[in-house]
Symmetry: C2
Amino acid sequence: MIMDPNADDRLDRAFMALADPVRRRIIARLSRGPATVNELAEPFAITKQAVSKHIQVLEHAGLVTRTREAQRRPVHLDAAGLEALTAWIDRYRLIHEQRFRNLDALLATDRGPHVAASDAGTTAGPAQEATEP
Amino acid sequence: MIMDPNADDRLDRAFMALADPVRRRIIARLSRGPATVNELAEPFAITKQAVSKHIQVLEHAGLVTRTREAQRRPVHLDAAGLEALTAWIDRYRLIHEQRFRNLDALLATDRGPHVAASDAGTTAGPAQEATEP
DNA sequence: AAGTTGATCAAGCATCAGGTTGAATAAAGG
DNA sequence: CCTTTATTCAACCTGATGCTTGATCAACTT
């Protein structure tokens, strides 16, 4: 698959899209099946134009897709877009946990660790990085 | 400082915090161990004040914590904060996939599905929701 | 053709997020 | 004490967001 030149922008838009409670509720609704703009706008106290904009944000973030059906444009959830986010988060969660396992192993074998915890932290990694591996 | 009783606000801040490439790179760095503001600011072409603000955003979002150590304030990753985000995303990803499994089962037993796919979608859920279950 | 429904475009406005510079605080080290 | 180091606070600018109202487009319905 093609990795678009700046995957950063994709993540920017996706995380930003979920940083709004209205858009999160739209995602929650779409997880139960596609819906039109009117249907999606119904629970909210804002105009349909505003909801339409929210959907455009979600679409541009790669979290939803749209089809044509007469004059309606049903919105569908795109699970792959969500998965990209959990993939990013989980990567660093796992690196973080791995670091703790390494530290635990070190403390188990080496007796007499009189260094502070934070000091041990700064020297735990072999510094293998560039720009978001 | 009072802890807001609104879980929405916490998700707002957490997703918003990750919607910035600088803050994501800070998270990536912290996954390898704690670091000070100066260390975190070094790879960036912005001022330390700006990085300090970014760290405050991450802290307010519950993604990092800070300790005191002489005049330095090492920043530590808070894995629990990240986990809350994957938990939110995965919930709706799973609901979405479950819906597909239900739809597949329906199409396997019921012969004669002449309705459009999107129409089937709008009637798939029994509408059991309030505000983000 | 005329009207209705569904959704978007466009312009305007209030608020906020990210960045800067400059001054202020806090803890070490002379 | 004064100086250096590490970090934050305060004021300010700029551009983006979220929302509104009013007009426009596209596809049915009659």
